[in-house]
Structure formats: structure tokens, C-alpha cells
């Protein structure tokens, strides 16, 4: 028998077992393989995304280790020049396109719906499609690599090296198509996040109350929408030049090689912030739990995020100082590159103020946060140094640059990410990661990171160029390279330590409970791991620190359907309840669509027939995706309440 509906003012009874069972039936996926491939639950998709991106991180790490092994001594013959070219290209492409951006978006797709208090992302089938396409695109790159057709033109694939004249075979095509895959995936994820944040927040979570990680993901999603089309367009020009004989980058026919650099870096520099801003969001969201106070300067933090996003689009030319651009332009881009340190500095000072005025507790996530601040400041300072044209011209394309961007990306993004793994692992799995192993993990990583990358500053000063597979003993670069390679081994041992921690903790880690850190954001208001519907009753938010501000009693919403999948839509600014919208069922069509697009993109490298064949397959998948099933008809047969207001 169904319990009578709850009414306003009523306290929710303790025994809600029947209601939970009903919600499990409605929101749960089928068991077995079919359920696994058809699920559209954001947490299942998010876990896969995170796991897949982490596997790519491991692969990229193995490639880094191979490079360090080759460079550990002068005139080493472990890896030849051709394979070395492929390995450094694979390393960069993997880390930027298959690890860093996807894992940040994946964290957003897993946690944003929980943090804003809703049941799923806005377009769950699109979310599933994005994951499958990511898997196909990444697998394609590695299959090609193992077939000795991996790209060998660097992660930014400069023309003319990657063009038809100097890049025969299919290696550069592989790179260009991998980029097309990943850009579509990123844009799809960005749209899901934007719509989820604007329309599906819990009642009362006005824009000035959303967690900073959600702000960071929102800002990042907008950046993706404007940055990714640049590289998608550029990689398409490159593919057209190579495959059908256009002349975008051919100066002999009116093309321009610098066009590639402009297009690539118009994407490439925002890309750094697309990776870094979510990481700052992670830090700002974790910090309150370990300092026992809300983050200092919330409005300043949010404004800093937004201003970084705007500025990030105005400094791409600092990657091109060595191309002989006009002096006025160089001065402008020096100024903008230096200026972006201001909002970034605001964030750093806000974190320091939070720690200073709080009661810091140095659990493993907090150690990673401290490591992040230390390492990122080093990377940021060298960034300001190379914003200056004369200095940049001295160290351009040397190991100094390698040192700089690894401090920014490993220190600025991977450290917060590992902190986030420790912090949210209990929520995702229900088990705590071991603190003891975690501390080993942190210190090995911190020491290894500095051992590996700090000597590279000197190597750069001594003139060692990037992307060389070996060097002569007479250069004197041997000892510092050896030190750097030993550091890489220490990092590898740290990552292995982390993997051991995951395995050990999954088997026998301490049971986490709902909120093991006594944190303040909404994902901790539900069980660990969360059920398919996230919250039995959607929360009502009363302050910026949702769980700390609610006191002893949680206010909740009732009235969304328990008979069908339904989400509550709220107004974009104030999060006032606005409508209830039915939510799609699980479906195999997102996978079918990803396969069709995969066939289209991959075969396009080899034959123009790809277009009609892939197009026809995509059309079939589209029809299957959009055509209402009997389940759809069933769930909408009840009387819908239609509102024409705002139409």
C-alpha cells in the first residue's frame, strides 16, 4: 500500500523503506551487461569516465617514464628517434586530451548533480554518448600507436611538419581525428553541466550559494564552448589539407602556417585554465572541511574565476613570441599574460586566509592542497617570467618551458586531483582510503615532482632543447637528467602506492558513512555511495554552506513523481521551483550513435565513403534515440500539467 503523500510542515517519518524501494525501481538500471551498457545514470557514467581517464593517465605516465629512461644518460640508445617522437606526442596528447580535460569534466558530471541537489544531469543520454565517444576516440589513438601509426608531430602538431608535405602516412591524421573526437566530447559535457547548473539546482540554492567547485565547472564549461571550436576547426583544416588537398596552411597557394598556431593557441591557452580552474574549484570546496570554516572571500573567489576565464582568451600569442610578431602585439600579450596573475593571486591569498583563520587538519587531501599551493606558486612565477618577451626568447623551446608547465599542470591540477580522490573516494565507494598509505603517496609524489621537474629549469638555462631523443656527454646535461629520471621513478612509485591504496581500501577500508569529513556541501547529505536517485527528498538550501547552515533539521521538497523519472527545474538565478520535467529512460542508442560517429571519423581518414556510410548509421541511431518507446508513452500517459507561460 502506498503511504499518503507528505505535506508542508510535516516531519518525514523515519521508516521510508517502501519509498526507497519504489525510487530504486524507477531510477535504477537493469542488472547485468545490458544494464551496464544502457545506463544513463550520471554516477555510473562519471565513474567510467574517471576510471578511463585515469587509465589514460597511467599510459601517459608510462610514456613519460620511457622518455626519462631514454634521457637518463647521454647518447642512450634505448629508444630511437622515430619512436621517441611518437612517445612524446602520445604523452602530450594523452595527458591533455584524454586525461586532464576529461577527468575534470568527469568529476563535474559525477559531483555537480549531487552538489546542486538534483537527480541526474540535464541530458543523460547525451552524457552516455559523450563517454562512449571518448572511449572510442582514445582507443583509436592507442590502437594506431600500437600499429606504429601513432602521431609523431608533437601534441600541438605544428604545420608544416604535420601537413601533407612533411607528414606522409596516417600519423598526423590519427592526431587530427583524435582531437575531433575529444572536442565533441568536451563540448557535449560542457552543455550538460551548464544546463544542469542553471536549471536543476535545489530550491534555495541561488547563484550566490553554489559551491565554488560548481562555479568553477560552470565557468570552465563556458570556456570549453568558446575554446574547443578553435582546435576542432583547426584540426579539420589540417585534415582537409592532408586528405582532400585544400591549402589552408600552404603558403605557396595563399595559405599560412601561422594560422595554425593562432587557431591552436586560441584554444591551447584557455585549455590550461580549462584544466586548472576545476582544480582550484576542488581546492576551494575541500578546504572548508579541513579548516572548519567556510572558504575566505567567496565573492572574490567567484569573480577571480570569471575574470581568469575572460583573460585566458586574450593571451594566446605569448606562445608565439618566437614567430616574429609585431612589437606592439608582443607588448600587449606580455601585459595580458602578466595581468592574469592578479585574479590567480586573489585565489591563492583567499586559500591562505582560509587556512590562516581556520583550524587546519592535515589529512591526506589537505596535504595535497598544501603541495598544490607550493608547487603552483613556483609554476605561476616562472609563468610571469616567460610572459616577458626577452626572457621567453632565451628559453623558448628549452627544458625551462617543460619545467614551467609541469609545475603548473602537475602541481596545479594533478595535486588537487589526487587530493580530490582521497576526499571523495568515500562518497563514491563507501570506503575510506588509508591515511597511512595516503601520506606515503603524497610525500613520494611531492619529492618526486620536485626532483623530476626542478632540475629542468637549469637544463633549460644550459640550453637543452625540448623534444630531443638524446644529447652528447660534452653538453654536461647528463647529471641533471639523471636526477630528473630518478625523480620520475619516485613519482611512479607514488602512483603505484595510490593504486595499492585503492585496491586495499576497496577490499577492507574503513566504512565511510554519509559525511566522514563533516563537510558542508550537498553530496554529503546522501548515502555513500549515493543511490541511483541521489536524494530521496530533494533538499532545500538555506545558506552557502548547505549542511552547516541547516542546523539539526534538513528542509526538503516533496511532490516530484515517484512513478517515473522526473527532475525538478528551478529558476536560473534564485533557484525558485519552476516545473517538473520527465527524464529519459536508459537506452542503448547513445552507444549506437557513438559507434556510428566513430565509424564516420575513423574511416574518413581512409575513404570518402565514410561520409555516406557513417552518416546513414548516425541517422539510424538518431531515429532510435528520439523515437518514443512504449516505456516513454507509459510514463507520460498520466495527465501532464502544461504551462504556456514564457512560451
Amino acid at each position: 500500500m502506498t503511504a499518503p503523500p507528505l505535506v508542508i510542515g510535516e516531519t518525514v517519518p523515519v521508516d521510508v523503506g517502501a519509498e526507497r524501494e519504489q525510487m530504486e525501481r524507477v531510477w535504477g538500471s537493469k542488472r547485468g551487461l545490458w544494464g551496464w551498457i544502457t545506463t544513463t545514470n550520471h554516477k555510473e557514467i562519471g565513474k567510467r569516465y574517471i576510471t578511463t581517464a585515469f587509465i589514460f593517465f597511467l599510459l601517459g605516465g608510462i610514456e613519460a617514464a620511457m622518455m626519462r629512461a631514454q634521457l637518463s644518460r647521454p647518447e642512450n640508445s634505448l629508444i630511437g628517434p622515430d619512436k621517441y617522437n611518437q612517445i612524446f606526442t602520445m604523452h602530450g596528447t594523452t595527458m591533455m586530451f584524454l586525461f586532464a580535460v576529461p577527468i575534470m569534466e568527469a568529476l563535474g558530471l559525477y559531483f555537480v548533480p549531487l552538489m546542486v541537489g538534483t537527480r541526474n544531469v540535464a541530458f543523460p543520454r547525451l552524457n552516455a554518448f559523450g563517454y562512449w565517444l571518448f572511449l572510442i576516440g582514445g582507443s583509436f589513438l592507442y590502437v594506431q600507436f600500437f600499429l606504429n601509426t601513432g602521431p609523431d608531430v608533437g601534441w600541438f602538431a605544428y604545420v608544416p611538419l604535420s601537413g601533407p608535405a612533411f607528414g606522409p602516412g596516417k600519423r598526423a591524421d590519427t592526431w587530427a581525428q583524435t582531437i575531433t573526437f575529444t572536442e565533441i566530447v568536451a563540448i557535449v559535457g560542457a552543455i550538460e553541466l551548464i544546463v544542469t547548473v542553471f536549471k536543476q539546482r535545489a530550491v534555495g540554492m541561488s547563484l550566490n550559494r553554489i559551491p565554488i567547485f560548481v562555479w568553477a565547472m560552470l565557468v570552465t564549461a563556458f570556456m570549453i564552448m568558446f575554446a574547443m571550436p578553435a582546435v576542432a576547426t583547426a584540426s579539420m583544416y589540417l585534415a582537409l589539407d592532408r586528405l582532400v588537398g585544400t591549402h589552408f596552411f600552404n603558403p605557396a597557394e595563399g595559405g599560412d602556417v601561422l594560422l595554425w598556431q593562432h587557431m591552436f593557441w586560441f584554444f591551447g591557452h584557455p585549455e590550461v585554465y580549462i584544466i586548472f580552474l576545476p582544480a582550484t574549484g576542488l581546492v576551494s570546496t575541500m578546504l572548508p572541511a579541513f579548516t572548519r570554516r567556510p572558504v575566505f572571500g567567496y565573492p572574490a573567489m567567484v569573480l577571480a574565476l570569471i575574470s581568469v576565464a575572460f583573460m585566458a582568451f586574450g593571451l594566446w600569442v605569448h606562445h608565439m613570441f618566437a614567430t616574429g610578431i609585431p612589437q606592439l602585439a608582443a607588448s600587449f600579450f606580455t601585459a595580458t599574460s602578466t595581468m592574469i596573475a592578479i585574479p590567480t593571486g586573489v585565489q591563492i591569498f583567499c586559500w591562505l586566509a582560509t587556512i590562516w583563520s581556520g583550524r587546519p587538519r592535515f589529512a591526506t587531501p589537505m596535504l595535497f592542497i598544501m603541495g598544490f599551493i607550493f608547487l603552483f606558486v613556483i609554476g605561476g612565477v616562472t609563468g610571469v617570467m616567460i610572459a616577458s618577451v626577452p626572457f621567453d626568447l632565451q628559453v623558448h623551446d628549452t627544458f625551462f618551458i617543460v619545467a614551467h608547465f609541469h609545475y603548473v599542470l602537475v602541481g596545479g591540477a594533478v595535486f588537487p586531483l589526487f587530493g580530490a580522490f582521497y576526499y571523495w573516494f568515500p562518497k563514491v565507494t563507501g570506503r575510506m582510503l588509508s591515511e597511512r598509505i595516503g601520506k606515503w603517496n603524497f610525500w613520494l609524489f611531492f619529492i618526486g615532482m620536485n626532483m623530476t621537474f626542478f632540475p629542468m629549469h637549469w637544463l633549460g638555462f644550459y640550453g637543452m632543447p625540448r623534444r630531443v631523443y638524446t644529447y652528447l656527454a660534452s653538453t654536461g646535461w647528463g647529471p641533471l637528467n639523471l636526477l630528473s629520471s630518478i625523480g620520475a621513478l619516485v613519482i611512479a612509485s607514488s602512483v603505484i602506492t595510490f593504486l595499492v591504496n585503492v585496491v586495499v581500501s576497496l577490499r577492507g577500508g574503513a566504512v565511510a558513512g554519509d559525511n566522514p569529513w563533516d563537510a558542508d556541501t550537498l553530496e554529503w547529505a546522501t548515502t555513500s555511495p549515493p543511490p541511483p536517485y541521489n536524494f530521496l527528498h530533494l533538499p532545500v538550501v538555506q545558506g552557502r554552506s548547505a549542511l552547516w547552515d541547516e542546523g539539526d533539521e534538513r528542509q526538503v521538497t516533496v511532490g516530484t513523481s515517484t512513478e517515473r523519472r522526473e527532475v525538478l527545474l528551478t529558476t536560473p538565478l534564485d533557484a525558485q521551483p519552476d516545473s517538473r520535467e520527465s527524464h529519459p529512460h536508459d537506452s542503448v542508442w547513445p552507444l549506437a550513435m557513438a559507434l556510428a560517429i566513430g565509424v564516420l571519423f575513423i574511416t574518413a581518414i581512409f575513404t570518402p565513403l565514410a561520409l555516406p556510410i557513417g552518416g546513414a548509421l548516425a541517422l539510424i541511431a538518431f531515429a532510435g534515440w528520439a523515437w518514443p518507446t512504449s516505456q516513454d508513452v507509459e510514463s507520460e500517459k498520466s495527465d501532464e500539467k502544461i504551462s504556456l507561460e514564457g512560451a
Binding site: I8, P229, G254, N515, R554, Q555, E640, S643, A647
Partner: protein, 203 residues
């Protein structure tokens, strides 16, 4: 449950079908339009970047593109805003018959415009592989043309659904958003038409 919960908001009476920016699809549609618009914007930027490499435009030895047929095509494109508008109106009225009728008309328009696009390519009077000038002219048309083809598939698919399939209440806001996207398609064609066919006579 670790904390006592008290009901303070009841959303039972809220509508389940809404139109415009109150619904999710509206946001998704414009999200894709923004990303696609950015792609078109960058292609236009490429056009002007490459333009600097030629002293005359079109480059010496290339004829001016034919402007007449594409301008007629442009007028047809603009005229299709009328069925798009009527589709939106009928969807908002929840009038299935009218919405079906306008979807069919818009489908025919989409097919006609796909044909017109073929003529547009001929009117360029240059091939993509002859120079960077030809390449960017073809790509501008091709980018927008691919959006047109995809949208044609969506319009025709939705028309078939309205004729043959189970039309659910939520399909009316969907039809409305097709009209919105159509406006984007028409508006984004205006600058491309001008740059590709009229521009070489000006700069």
C-alpha cells in the same frame, strides 16, 4: 537517514510541460548553437586572415563568384522563417494538426535549401584545391551546409514522428525549439552569404 527532515516545499502543482527558457531543451539547443556559432565565427576570422595573403580578391586568374543565384537562395532562406514561426506558434497552441502541417512544410523547405546549397557551391566558380581562397570559400559553405543537413534530418524526423508516431506532450516544446534553431541557421547564413558572394566585390 541521519538527520530529521521537514517538508517545506511542495512542488506537486508545478507544471510538467513548459516552453522556452523554462525547459531544458531550450538551453541545450542554444548551447549547441553557441558552440556551432563559434565555429562559424572562427571560419569567418580565417577568411579575413587569409585574405591578407592576396593583393587582389579574388586572386588573379579567378572569376568573381556568381552572386545572383545565391542571393535568390538567401531570399528563400529568409522566407523559411515564416514556416518556422508558424511551427512555433502551432506548437505553443498544442495544435498537433497545425504543427504537423508546418513541420512538413519546413521539411520541404529544408530539402529545397539542401538543393540550393548545391547551386551555391557551383556559384563559387572555384574549386577547394586550387588555392587557399578556394579552400576557405568551400569550407564556409560546407560548415554551414553540414549544419543545414543535420537540421534537415531533425526536421524531417520530427515531421515523421508527428505523422506516424506517438506524439507526447513534451514533443510540443521540442517542435518549438526546432523553430528556434531554424532562426539560428538562417541568421548565421546571412553574414556567410555576404562574405562569400558579395565580399569579393568589395574588398
Amino acid at each position: 537517514m541521519t538527520k530529521r527532515e521537514r517538508v517545506t516545499v511542495d512542488v506537486t502543482e508545478l507544471p510538467t510541460i513548459v516552453f522556452g527558457s523554462r525547459g531544458l531543451l531550450w538551453w541545450g539547443t542554444w548551447g549547441f548553437a553557441v558552440a556551432e556559432g563559434m565555429t562559424l565565427f572562427l571560419s569567418i576570422a580565417t577568411y579575413f586572415y587569409l585574405r591578407r595573403n592576396f593583393q587582389t580578391y579574388p586572386p588573379l586568374g579567378y572569376p568573381q563568384p556568381d552572386w545572383f543565384a545565391p542571393t535568390i537562395g538567401m531570399a528563400i532562406f529568409l522566407a523559411t522563417c515564416i514556416p518556422a514561426y508558424m511551427l512555433k506558434k502551432s506548437a505553443v497552441r498544442l495544435d498537433k494538426d497545425a504543427a504537423t502541417r508546418w513541420l512538413v512544410i519546413l521539411s520541404v523547405c529544408a530539402l529545397v535549401l539542401c538543393g540550393v546549397r548545391t547551386i551555391d557551391f557551383y556559384a563559387l566558380r572555384v574549386l577547394w584545391m586550387t588555392s587557399a581562397y578556394g579552400s576557405i570559400q568551400w569550407v564556409l559553405l560546407g560548415f554551414h551546409g553540414s549544419l543545414l543537413v543535420i537540421e534537415a534530418a531533425e526536421v524531417i524526423g520530427t515531421a515523421v514522428l508527428f505523422i506516424k508516431g506517438p506524439v507526447l506532450p513534451r514533443h510540443f516544446p521540442d517542435a518549438c525549439d526546432i523553430g528556434n534553431y531554424w532562426y539560428f541557421l538562417v541568421l548565421s547564413w546571412l553574414p556567410i552569404w555576404f562574405i562569400v558572394y558579395i565580399g569579393p566585390r568589395i574588398w
